[in-house]
């Protein structure tokens, strides 16, 4: 067996779910030479205290990155695309009453 260069470390992004039904949220990242160790390290850094029920581990290089300001922060006024001008509270309350549904409780956590 010939000598080999040590494998390069690369970054892996870790997403975690705190409990069933929660959205996956970005937890942070780990450095690892390959997918198997990336999963082990994600488990140790973001799951060893039982703080997660599921992890997603994604090679950072596989993420499609979009930060083009022409696409995301165009210079002209876009306020007409925001819903700020509409007051929905009374309409929603009326619709709920008509449908016989109670107002949902605030989410915990």
């Amino acid at each position: 067996m010939s000598s080999t260069v040590p494998p390069e470390l690369e970054a892996w992004e870790v997403f975690r779910q705190e409990k069933e039904g929660d959205p996956m949220r970005h937890g942070g990242s780990v450095m690892a030479p390959d997918a198997e160790l990336a999963v082990h390290y994600a488990r140790e850094l973001y799951g060893r205290r039982q703080e997660s029920v599921r992890l997603w581990v994604v090679r950072r290089a596989d993420i499609l990155d979009l930060d083009d300001p022409d696409l995301l922060q165009p210079p002209l006024d876009r306020s007409f695309k925001k819903p700020g001008g509409y007051v929905m509270r009374d309409k929603l309350a009326a619709a709920r009453e008509a449908a016989g549904q109670p107002k949902p409780k605030a989410r915990s956590g």
Partner: protein
């Protein structure tokens, strides 16, 4: 405890004491040995992983010492910290110093694979307090084995330096690997009582069958038979005496203190 469980007395009490002591001491010693990597592991993530594994093992030792303390009317902390070095019953596989990373990984792989066979033989046992605890230990040890196997394979295939260090480590540890299955006092009583599924010698055979495919695929030499299996948990050497001084240092600094 179920109604059908045999009373723990006589030879069985002696055997159960020996079994719990050996398992607890194994977990305690490998936990402290691995904790020596905290701060100096090959990369930060691995530092966290190895430190976390070490903590797991100390947690397992604590649970096993608690069972032994209940059985013998002693105290778990006293069992862990107040014995003389010669009174510990961990296997000789764990008596080598920390060594380099290859030594640590080889020791973990050999111990974790053997411990898995031992736990399997206890999981359906007739003494509920131990069988219940073993079911929990098995769930954590599964990850330990995944971690050890991942590194064992990487070192074996990692080029000249990594592979030759792993082979050096296996040369040093291999002759002591089977001491995990060293005979325990009156251990036939454990099998008769249905606490242990098979004699230690049979478990060693199962362990060899379990690891042979890994050693074969990696073209590594299988561990030889232990030289003096009947003394496999005795005669601890200098490396353990040093470790004992380390892990008892705080406790001895203020005996009886409440922390």
């Amino acid at each position: 405890m179920t109604a059908a469980a045999p009373p723990i007395a006589g030879a069985l009490a002696l055997a159960l004491d020996g079994l719990l002591r050996s398992m607890a001491d194994d977990e305690f010693v490998i936990g402290f040995s691995d904790s020596e990597w905290t701060g100096i592991a090959p990369l930060l993530e691995e530092d966290v992983a190895m430190s976390s594994l070490a903590q797991d093992e100390l947690g397992h030792a604590q649970a096993l010492y608690a069972l032994l303390a209940d059985l013998t009317g002693t105290d778990a902390d006293a069992l862990a910290y107040d014995r003389e070095p010669d009174a510990y019953r961990h296997c000789r596989l764990l008596d080598h110093g920390r060594g380099d990373w290859a030594m640590t990984i080889a020791r973990r792989f050999l111990y974790d694979s053997a411990d898995a066979v031992r736990l399997e033989a206890l999981a359906e046992g007739s003494w509920a307090p131990l069988a219940d605890l073993v079911a929990k230990l098995q769930r954590e040890e599964r990850y330990h084995r995944m971690h050890a196997t991942a590194w064992f394979e990487r070192l074996a295939r990692g080029g000249d330096d990594a592979r030759s260090r792993l082979i050096t480590a296996l040369d040093a540890l291999g002759p002591d690997a089977a001491t995990v299955f060293a005979p325990l006092p009156e251990d036939a009583a454990l099998v008769d009582a249905g606490i242990l599924a098979a004699p230690m010698a049979d478990l060693e055979t199962q362990w060899r069958a379990a690891i042979a495919p890994v050693f074969g695929a990696l073209e590594l030499p299988m561990p030889p038979a232990a030289l003096a299996p009947e003394r496999g948990r005795l005669d601890h050497g200098e490396a353990f005496r040093w470790l004992d001084t380390e892990f008892t240092m705080v406790r001895r600094s203020d005996p009886g203190a409440t922390w």
